[in-house]
Symmetry: D2
Subunit: 336 residues, 4 copies
Amino acid sequence: MVNVGVIGYGYWGPNLVRNFAETKDAKVVCVSDRKEDRLTLVQSRFPYIKVTQDPMELINDPLVDAVIISTPVSTHYDLASKAFKAGKHVLVEKPMTGSVEEGEKLLEESARAKKTLMVDHTFIYTPAVIKIKEMVGKGDLGRLLYYDSVRVNLGLFQHDVNVLWDLAVHDLSIMDFILGEQPAEVSATGVAHLNGQPQDVAYITCYLQNNLIAHFHVNWMAPVKVRRTLIGGDRQMIVYDDLEPSEKIKVYDKGVSLNEGPEGVYQMLVSYRSGDMWAPHLATTEALKTEAAHFIDCVTNGKTPQTNGEMGLRVVKILEAADTSMANRGQPVHIL
Amino acid sequence: MVNVGVIGYGYWGPNLVRNFAETKDAKVVCVSDRKEDRLTLVQSRFPYIKVTQDPMELINDPLVDAVIISTPVSTHYDLASKAFKAGKHVLVEKPMTGSVEEGEKLLEESARAKKTLMVDHTFIYTPAVIKIKEMVGKGDLGRLLYYDSVRVNLGLFQHDVNVLWDLAVHDLSIMDFILGEQPAEVSATGVAHLNGQPQDVAYITCYLQNNLIAHFHVNWMAPVKVRRTLIGGDRQMIVYDDLEPSEKIKVYDKGVSLNEGPEGVYQMLVSYRSGDMWAPHLATTEALKTEAAHFIDCVTNGKTPQTNGEMGLRVVKILEAADTSMANRGQPVHIL
Amino acid sequence: MVNVGVIGYGYWGPNLVRNFAETKDAKVVCVSDRKEDRLTLVQSRFPYIKVTQDPMELINDPLVDAVIISTPVSTHYDLASKAFKAGKHVLVEKPMTGSVEEGEKLLEESARAKKTLMVDHTFIYTPAVIKIKEMVGKGDLGRLLYYDSVRVNLGLFQHDVNVLWDLAVHDLSIMDFILGEQPAEVSATGVAHLNGQPQDVAYITCYLQNNLIAHFHVNWMAPVKVRRTLIGGDRQMIVYDDLEPSEKIKVYDKGVSLNEGPEGVYQMLVSYRSGDMWAPHLATTEALKTEAAHFIDCVTNGKTPQTNGEMGLRVVKILEAADTSMANRGQPVHIL
Amino acid sequence: MVNVGVIGYGYWGPNLVRNFAETKDAKVVCVSDRKEDRLTLVQSRFPYIKVTQDPMELINDPLVDAVIISTPVSTHYDLASKAFKAGKHVLVEKPMTGSVEEGEKLLEESARAKKTLMVDHTFIYTPAVIKIKEMVGKGDLGRLLYYDSVRVNLGLFQHDVNVLWDLAVHDLSIMDFILGEQPAEVSATGVAHLNGQPQDVAYITCYLQNNLIAHFHVNWMAPVKVRRTLIGGDRQMIVYDDLEPSEKIKVYDKGVSLNEGPEGVYQMLVSYRSGDMWAPHLATTEALKTEAAHFIDCVTNGKTPQTNGEMGLRVVKILEAADTSMANRGQPVHIL
């Protein structure tokens, strides 16, 4: 049995508490939030859970084995670091930290404490993303050509981070998982429209190996909701639309091939193939449920999480580089 | 009556001939194409039109008042230049020329010859784009925030130009028309996947005044066809989907407003509004028909075309700057 | 304060309990279900609610003011009748009863007991249906021509009633509310594909006044989910798609008009108009929440429910007539 | 070489002339139309085709081998009959004749003249319908449960026939082709909204063997265009949407099965399966082109057309029965 404590009962915290409360071999023993009315809500729903306004009380509670951090990004490093010092395992909201420097320190501290560090990149646990990873991994798509992702809507404004750290973080983690490769360089553009507010519209281009290009479009101020990713290979192409109720993934048996023409390289023949479309049936499992069980499994059996600290750090590296590029109107930035 | 000659009877030429043949006060008197079988096709359809393999014969024909150039981009400047020298009016396919230098020379030559120079930016003559221009012009959208355009599909490969000069040229002309403003700086990214072929996937960001940002996504290798533009203002937002058979424009009464909170600038309140959606009825006039009549009107009455040489040059300037930026992985490039 | 008891905690019961638990001036004091595990579930969620396997214990509980019946259709009349005898108000699931005869008796018993009888036709309380009723009521659509409704999907099989009593019941109540008129005659067709099971695919045509025709298509075995109603008038037409996340109602400024031609009645000119489309913004209130508050208001203040027993009976009359017609392959049946 | 003459150059005639003009081994030698301006149009497009206002001149022209009849339904029998008497082959627009009586006589006359009789049921020659026929024929769908077709839009008003004879005729021919079975009984409903005009909205139910039911919804006055057919089997189900540009057919690996429960027939278990969806690639051949070649092949080589007179007559039988049923508000009518 793993006893977990959850810090932050705002927008996402209730989902974490509910899912861990229903996870086998896990028990939510404590919830912490600065706001008293949030704690009252916890108690009305889960009378048996201890509540506190002081996160340190939760972190230092000897009953707590693992700390789940669901607070603003700027506090992630500090709270996670303290949790490791107190000998706890940690599951932290995405993005893992607010900077690469903090991220690198956190990885060291996790290693020193010999405790699990997992990042809550929830999409990695959805049946759709797992299916795409499997298809790309088997080479079904052939040589990958491009990855194009759009995540826009008239959404909530995040005051603490810009639209990249709020929305693109999802897509960067999905790309990291599917491609298994860190981009070498990024170029990003974007603007802030409201005085004193962070950027609300942004675009990132990532350069990967073998001429593979990945592009991300995020926008807090669109009139329509779009969650769509195209992945193009020279054998097959995928359209992943997260808003489709039942056909989230469509696989097109379309591609392009380059044949040398009769007169050699000066006569290349580009030919397009057009074929069937196929939408695989997907399970309807809730991703957070899968993820909670995976965290408990990692903590209990010492396994490495799918979304471990290394992955969390890779995503933060792209975000930080994108911020730098965006401040310089697209100037490319290398990622180390 | 304006007698026109059409050079190039390949993909687009037949549409030009058919439309000018049905335009009041215009007469197609000559068609030129390098390929004999294309000329045979012209004669079977229009027995009364003179045909020739030599474009100079057409240009120098005293019967011809106006020359329409529908050939590869690399030949535009040379043919148009010769037409002006021969004292003819010119309608040239988009993009107007293959470089800014050629474009500037062509404008001078047109001025010197005192003949009309018009560029075939057909979308400017569609009922949808005219409607959007009208709405933006009246200020219906409020302060403009962003312009986002996607034009992708599994399409024909252009061997002579890259995907920017083939596809983005449409969207850049639409933006020029709607916003009436030249961007100050661009950042572009993109790659070529086939050896010896031009870029097939590309992205452009344009920086305009007042934090307005415009972004363009073009792709020759997508499995699905998308032709969608979002235009966001702080009062209303437009979704323009050119593939919708009957509701190409949707106007959302949605927006965002920034109010100063009770405690001054440190407490900005961002609020979203959500309202009705409205799809104006649009005429179903064929754009090329409207454009042909407009060209004849300009030639006859000395009017300035909606899509004149200045506009053609502004579009070429963005394309050339985007090429430079793309070669440098997004490095921003100023437009003069 | 109205104390309510809920009989039946199966598919819909939990929604009723949750909504009434959150309704002002209402309190859920008792829940009854035949199955012990359902009662255990009630207690884990609402420790303060009394539970019992015996519905008569609930009905006769002096603490209970109003009985909510969420059980199979065949038991509706019996339970509601006993509730009236015990001096309780009643909210009963749709369809109100399993036959016209039961329905008529129930109305009498409700009148005799001077207690509220309301039927849970939930759709009547949705913002979309309320908006359509308002538009039709104001005459926005002009003269009504047709009403066409489709409700199909690969759904749960109801063993106790056929697809008309399970699905068409929704649409018949919506039509009753919007048109405010009882059809004079119906013709219905349909078949049962599984031995010993009720009809799973069915169609109803209702004849109303002034050549208005209403048609309903329901199907338990379709591969896709459709919930779409077309309402055609000679001035405007509505498409109501309940699966659309944000634009459930689209109003088309299209219509048809008949003008007498120059040569009199022998030369009628039918002309079509084509105009704008408009999607009104709708509130996102949960219908059951609105309905629960309305029931409490009716019980407390003696008001007549929007979905009262008369309406419930009108719907049952159409269903019973449709069953008769369906058994005779479409033979029309008068409704009295 | 087959010399064809086309009677009627109105809405559909120009498509017939254009396609036969491009068909191998066929030559359009004569076109007839009552209206002089239509004939002028023919001559401007095809200077070599002979034109006449008198259809008998065309029919009796010894140069003409086959007569194509594209005139109002009421004239079909008379013109076709005369063509057979003159020893010509006949391709007649759908519906073949205006009554069963005329249809039966025409079949006899065709047999007596030993000339080909083919009906222009164009949809039978589309790649989508051919694909569905193939799948159903191979038993891919398992046991067929239902066939449901919708064909509605704000369309042209036909003054000479009602909406069944104008629109349902398409779907009835498709059903005939796919199922290869004549319904035993029909029930139809519908109304006319404009004085002195035929019915503009109508519904037909057809009863086939083994509890298979087919339903058709046609409407001239809908605000949106719908062309959708669902075909449900107990193994797979098809959605055929003719308006989809590239995925007209979607095959759902969904179905329903009935298993006997542990306690025998009293405990039937209905279970639903949910699986992949698949959209086969379809050729983009123009149906009329395929059909024209097929007609020439039948005439030349004495083959029986896919859409021969027997099929044309089966469709007319359903239409006539549906008219009778519709006049009696759904009363079922047997088909002999």
